[in-house]
């Protein structure tokens, strides 16, 4: 565990007054955007499920959940933040700490990040830096340590920049997924995080606790997969709503989230029986893949798809911010400590479809995942969403397109930035694509 150094290598010295001003203004905009997004989601689906109410509340970044975490912190619980879905949540839970994902989706803070890193850098990184500068993200501020997985170049440098003012634990994922030495490296990284967790929380991760944590996460995975299963048929839950539920798992208390999601699924099953569809069954079904999208600001594309004329519906995605979060369970053969650690290591490394891995060694996981999703969710088109500066996703486009072309599924490459200025232009592009899909349905 590295101590936070006194000398700041990256962060600028900002006057306290400026920080406070920026914080309050961005917070005000953000609160407005959260309310606006939820209002628009309600408008799209007037008959929105009752179960969504809980998720609307929990998704308020300045509301109930940060307060809860604050209270738990006062009682002595530690909060561990993480950036990528690579972070072993089971271990955090077993150490009696609270896991929260701290990636930032604020547009405004990405401009602040420009003061430290060039504009060419991925906006997710810039936005997170900006959020740290003005102390905007409640979860990032509350976390005692942040697990940063050095997946892409941006993440690598981000952890360096943030270590100016936060305790950062880095995990190095190997770039070649399928080799014994990769797995060995990753296992060592997991073990290191385990000792770090034990040190910071003062709780020993015992086999019994870890088993409990794994079972908690398995239950969450079960609810998660049940929800994804319900999206395969005619739409009963709009894509944005499902995305919000998925993403709430990143910051909510996982047991409560599981309960609420199961309740939502029960309600949706009733609706399927009543044939109460959220949108006409012939609405073009779209799948999004590419750069992760984060609540609350970066809700641009799903909103555009579902509010466009002709309307489309998001039936699934291949993103580490939504459908990939809890999809894979940790499968344990023997409940011994070593085997559990191995199981966790393998689940987080091998089941990942992150483009940071090379596919030279025959690693077709991402394409396979997408094809399976397209087939099972009966999607008619795929939107390949990339933010400028997200090199890894942008570079994989050709390969994904070739694979989808074989199936005759149209793919549309949509690149954008963390800005609200191009919404009009994007709308035209999305609508043109949806119109094409509608025409294909008619034929």
């Amino acid at each position: 565990m590295k101590n936070v150094s006194a000398e700041k290598k990256y962060m600028p010295e900002m006057p306290q007054k400026e920080i406070e001003e920026l914080n309050s203004s961005v917070k005000a905009t953000s609160a407005k955007i959260i309310a606006d997004n939820i209002a628009r989601m309600k408008k799209t689906d007037p008959n929105r499920p009752e179960g969504m109410k809980y998720f609307d509340e929990i998704s308020n970044f300045f509301g109930q959940r940060p307060k809860e975490i604050q209270d738990a912190k006062i009682k002595g619980k530690k909060v561990i933040g993480y950036f990528c879905v690579f972070a072993p949540v089971e271990l955090i839970l077993a150490a009696d700490a609270i896991p929260v994902r701290v990636n930032s989706g604020w547009y405004d803070t990405s401009k602040l990040g420009d003061r430290i890193v060039p504009v060419e850098v991925c906006p997710v990184i810039r936005s997170t830096i900006g959020a740290k500068m003005i102390g905007l993200s409640p979860y990032l501020e509350l976390s005692d340590a942040v697990i940063s997985t050095l997946t892409c170049d941006g993440m690598t440098k981000l952890s360096e920049i943030l270590s100016d003012s936060k305790t950062i634990w880095t995990m190095t994922p190997p770039r070649v997924k399928d080799s014994p030495q990769s797995l060995q490296l990753w296992k060592e990284e997991i073990k290191t995080v385990k000792t770090q967790l034990e040190k910071i929380t003062g709780n020993k991760i015992t086999a019994k606790k870890l088993k409990e944590a794994i079972e908690t996460m398995q239950k969450a995975s079960k609810a998660f997969r049940r929800l994804q299963e319900l999206r395969k048929g005619n739409t009963v839950l709009m894509g944005r709503d499902a995305m919000l539920v998925n993403q709430a798992a990143l910051w909510d208390d996982i047991k409560r989230w599981t309960e609420k999601t199961e309740a939502l699924c029960d309600e949706l099953e009733m609706r399927i029986k009543d044939k109460a569809w959220a949108c006409p069954p012939d609405t073009p079904r779209v799948i999004v893949t590419g750069t992760p999208m984060f609540w609350p600001d970066n809700w641009k594309l799903p909103t555009l798809i579902e509010e466009a004329t002709p309307q489309g519906v998001l039936v699934g995605d291949e993103m580490c911010s939504s459908d990939r979060i809890l999809y894979d369970p940790v499968g344990i053969d023997e409940w011994t400590m070593d085997d559990m650690i191995n199981g966790i290591a393998e689940r987080y490394l091998m089941a990942s479809t992150c483009p940071c891995f090379t596919s030279k060694d025959g690693n077709e996981d991402r394409v396979n995942w997408l094809i399976n999703k397209v087939k099972e969710n009966k999607a008619q088109g795929v939107i390949y969403y990339v933010v400028r500066g997200c090199i890894l996703y942008a570079m994989e486009y050709t390969r994904v397109k070739k694979a989808l072309d074989k199936l005759g599924i149209p793919v549309y490459y949509l690149d954008t930035d963390y800005t609200r200025e191009d919404v009009g232009q994007m709308k035209t592009r999305v609508e043109a694509f949806l119109e094409m899909l509608t025409a294909r349905v008619d034929i």
């Binding site: 011994t336 199981g343 091998m350 089941a351 094809i371």
Partner: protein, 327 residues
């Protein structure tokens, strides 16, 4: 005469009925989907152990058993090894004890594992051909070979049947007397050591060493003997030659698109088969696979791994997080 036959038939029917009832009870009672099949396998192993115990009382049954194994192996891969073999059952019990102690197994490096898989041919070849050479050395070759094959020290068929020798064989010829106040147990291959090396004390020590070695290796590596057991050659032959391709009817089948390469199948495999994980889909053909279906049972993706019997799916992987509706 008829009465005794009727009695035997009645007994067999009762035994079969009890076994089936046991299977049914396990299927209903065991809710954990990742263990259901394992428990079922365990039960079948126990039942077959009892069956083999009784069949070993008759020398005639031995040869019948040999034929059955060969037929089963040719048509269903090493199904026998995974589900019936008493030595395999013994190794499973040792693994269970290790699990209860909270100790994890070790894994062999892939290369070693694969070369062990090839070693089984060498062992089998030596066992099957040695009598010919040894027979030629005797004065009267023809009768010598005959004697060696049927009664002599080299009884190849017997050796191939050795893993079948459960720890409680009543067949007097098979008992290795261990010298504890007349206590005697039978251990796979112990009898062969006894017949090959007839120096009293050395034999006994060798048997002890063999028992200790297999016990320790089984404790460290899951199903260690299965990785080079000569009895497991038949399926490999059926998969290797094109003319025999039709023979194996039982296959593990993989659907590539549903696989996320999470690596569970690779980790849970007791003999460290990597083909299920590495293969791009289709039927898995390796002589190492025991068809124990642990990977199919543990795979969390609906229909990704399947057990196909003559191209019909008999068992497929399911989302084991979800309790099924039919239960």
């Amino acid at each position: 005469m008829y009465e005794s036959l009727a009695g035997a038939l009645l007994g067999a029917t009762a035994a079969l009925g009890l076994a089936l009832a046991g299977i049914l009870v396990i299927l209903i009672w065991k809710k954990d989907r990742t263990r259901k099949l394992s428990y079922l396998r365990f039960f079948i192993q126990v039942v077959s152990l009892v069956g083999i115990f009784y069949s070993f009382t008759l020398a005639l049954w031995l040869s019948a058993f040999f034929l059955v194994i060969f037929a089963v192996t040719f048509f269903s891969g090493r199904f026998f090894c995974g589900w019936i073999c008493p030595f395999g059952f013994y190794m499973d019990i040792v693994a269970l004890v290790r699990q209860k102690l909270g100790i994890r197994y070790f894994s062999l490096p892939e290369k070693v594992n694969n070369s062990l898989n090839k070693l089984r041919y060498v062992i089998a070849a030596v066992i099957l051909t040695a009598p010919l050479f040894l027979g030629a050395l005797t004065i009267n070759p023809a009768s010598g070979i005959q004697a060696l094959f049927l009664r002599g020290p080299f009884r190849p068929i017997d050796i191939l049947l050795s893993p079948l020798e459960p720890l409680i064989v009543p067949f007097t010829g098979s008992i290795a007397n261990l010298g504890f106040n007349g206590w005697s147990i039978s251990y796979p291959y112990a009898r062969d050591i006894l017949t090959y090396i007839s120096v009293p004390n050395v034999t006994l020590i060798l048997i002890y060493v063999f028992i200790a070695l297999t016990l320790i290796s089984t404790f460290m590596f899951r199903r260690f003997w299965c990785r080079f057991c000569p009895t497991g050659i038949s399926i490999a032959a059926a998969n290797r030659f094109k003319a025999l391709k039709w023979m194996p009817l039982l296959h593990i089948n993989k659907e590539e698109e549903k696989c996320t390469k999470c690596g569970i199948c690779k980790r849970v495999c007791p003999v460290q088969v990597t083909d299920v994980y590495e293969q791009k889909g289709g039927n898995i053909k390796t002589s190492l696979c025991l068809n124990c279906m642990r990977c199919v049972e543990m795979c969390p993706y609906e229909g990704c791994l399947k057990m196909n019997l003559a191209n019909k799916t008999v068992f497929k992987s399911r989302n084991w997080l979800e309790p099924s509706n039919s239960e």
